[in-house]
Point group: C2
Amino acid sequence: MDLTLLGQQAQASARKLALLDTKEKNRLLGAMAQALVTATPEILAANEKDLAQAAANGISETMQDRLRLTKERIAEMAAGIKEVVDLPDPIGEVEKMWKNEDGLLIGRQKVPLGVIGIIYESRPNVTTDAASLCFKTGNAVILRGGKEAFASNQVLVEILQQALIKEGFTPHVIQFVTDTSHEVATEMMRLTEYLDVLIPRGGAGLIKRVKETATVPVIETGTGNNHVYIDKDAQLDMAAAIVDNAKTQRPSVCNAMETLLIHEAVAAEFLPVIAKKLAQHQVELHGDERACQYVPEALPATEADWSTEYLDYILAIKVVDSLEEAIAHINRYNTKHSEAIVTDNYFASQKFLQEVDAAAVYVNASTRFTDGFVFGFGAEIGISTQKLHARGPMGLEELTSTKYIIYGEGQIRS
Amino acid sequence: MDLTLLGQQAQASARKLALLDTKEKNRLLGAMAQALVTATPEILAANEKDLAQAAANGISETMQDRLRLTKERIAEMAAGIKEVVDLPDPIGEVEKMWKNEDGLLIGRQKVPLGVIGIIYESRPNVTTDAASLCFKTGNAVILRGGKEAFASNQVLVEILQQALIKEGFTPHVIQFVTDTSHEVATEMMRLTEYLDVLIPRGGAGLIKRVKETATVPVIETGTGNNHVYIDKDAQLDMAAAIVDNAKTQRPSVCNAMETLLIHEAVAAEFLPVIAKKLAQHQVELHGDERACQYVPEALPATEADWSTEYLDYILAIKVVDSLEEAIAHINRYNTKHSEAIVTDNYFASQKFLQEVDAAAVYVNASTRFTDGFVFGFGAEIGISTQKLHARGPMGLEELTSTKYIIYGEGQIRS
């Protein structure tokens, strides 16, 4: 696997892609969407290989289901690309333009980042999602998917590339790393000469490894150790609905809640109610000492519980004496993803919004809303939990950089 | 040197600083500016130590001059802080706010980055500049200056800290790394638990080392291998003025020009004229084969010349056959800082603006204008040559992150 060659090809093709107007990019995206549908049998055949391998490796039914493609899922992937076609193209927009004291007309224009590397572990639909979002924003992409979906991912990229070739455009804007070894992944993380940014999408282990290894600028995504704090002035029925939703509506995703913080003034009333509600989903409760008094069925929480992203039907519970204690706990243990307060109190809400350090801070709403589609961006390449470049759900705009374009009349600096 | 302790103190103090309103931040900045003026004798005494050490180490007169502080230069540093007081505070601004389909009111608010690390080699004024810009934007800063200015930098930070203590605020928002060893610098570059971003300011060697070593997100600054391209349709007197300015007005800075690209149609006329003009500054010319024919006094350029940031009275010259060749040369060798074309041709200017990959692209103006003050930002923490987060001159706005604040009414996700 020659990553340098992939990098050179990506860089050269990115320059060509940057020159396409929106109409032409949309036309090519449409062709790629159509090609996926046409190639459904081919994709299903490749997916069968991955599924057989998964079964042979004893991978869980849930994971196998995540991996499985069907005619409908392929149609959804194609529909996803068509949705990207319909989104406004941010490239070329001059965000602001002004004359400076020297009479120079200075504009800040949105331009592609260049070449984006994506290392992911998730389902095969990430392949077409990421490829289409990068393409729409004028970026070449180098994709490195997980071993489990290797055959599916590879055939998906081939189909997209063939569609581009058929339309007379370079296939190198979407490339696939066919070597899934650790060494090649490491090399990719350090491919500074060709990659302008690296976006890891996957579990905490992958994110950690990328952070420790990468020299390419990284946009960290994903892990969400999220809290809901029930204030002493909360409406408890609203609180119960929000906690139930944030924990059980889809526990495996990064915007699900992991720890419930409850003010001691309402703990005795609220905890038995919510415990009963959560029992309908067999949620396992890990409580601190006080929580266990109110909910005897809870297991005793350990220090590790406060830092754990369960991604499962498990909830940690801590009783706190004040809003301040809740905020301090959150800022100590959270992964800066999504945090919520339930309260009727104006000053409590303002304090929580201001002092909690996270990408998305909610008053009286479920953490589950942190999502590019829900926010109205029309797409999502991931949810950034770092503070540089992009924070929170990343749509098309977050896949752009800027360039100053300056119109002069012969000015020199004195 | 316990960097972990510095990191913990910085993080805790950043939370306090983030809560100050603009008036209070400005009041504290004013106190710091005043403290610098009051402590002039103390600063001069520390600076004397650095100067004596520099002389003993046989450091050049130019470098010694960069290091030297005077009563006037200290007054300028204080005045610089007062200018930061007068700048608008970006923190708290809600860039946009909208209701989504669920009725959630979602706002994107500018917030501090958190803790910023700055590793710099430059003159002592960077200490007070960086400290005041980070403070104004609500960021704690950990400063690690160069060995040469150690005593000066240390006393400057102490004075700023004493001013904060006197005003009843924590001094940990501005901290100084007193160990200048390589090991501690490396540790700082990997202090991911506490640093939200690392900004290196210095020569190509420092930038390279930070890029290779850092796991903390980096904003790369500085190196500028910049070109001016003289098109066949250029006004040659304007071209000569721009080249002279871009090369000789201040050759030691990153926005100075390093290579002249000239269209062959005007090379015979232009090169002897510009060579004569540059001879007034004893500029050494390194020309390709054709350039040397027109300017016999030029030395033959080698491949290395095209990649070199001289930062000196040296200019590389290459004759090209077309605008396309000029653009290809620039995109191959530049450091993506500042690039200029001189032309009367509309389509040549548009093509150059669109296809040249750099932070700032000029038509008919000197590259020397790439500067936060000149652009009208009122300040500059550096010039980013990367594409993530910030590109080009970085003012206060570039020292911020964002947070989504979301006002709900009990919404849960369905």
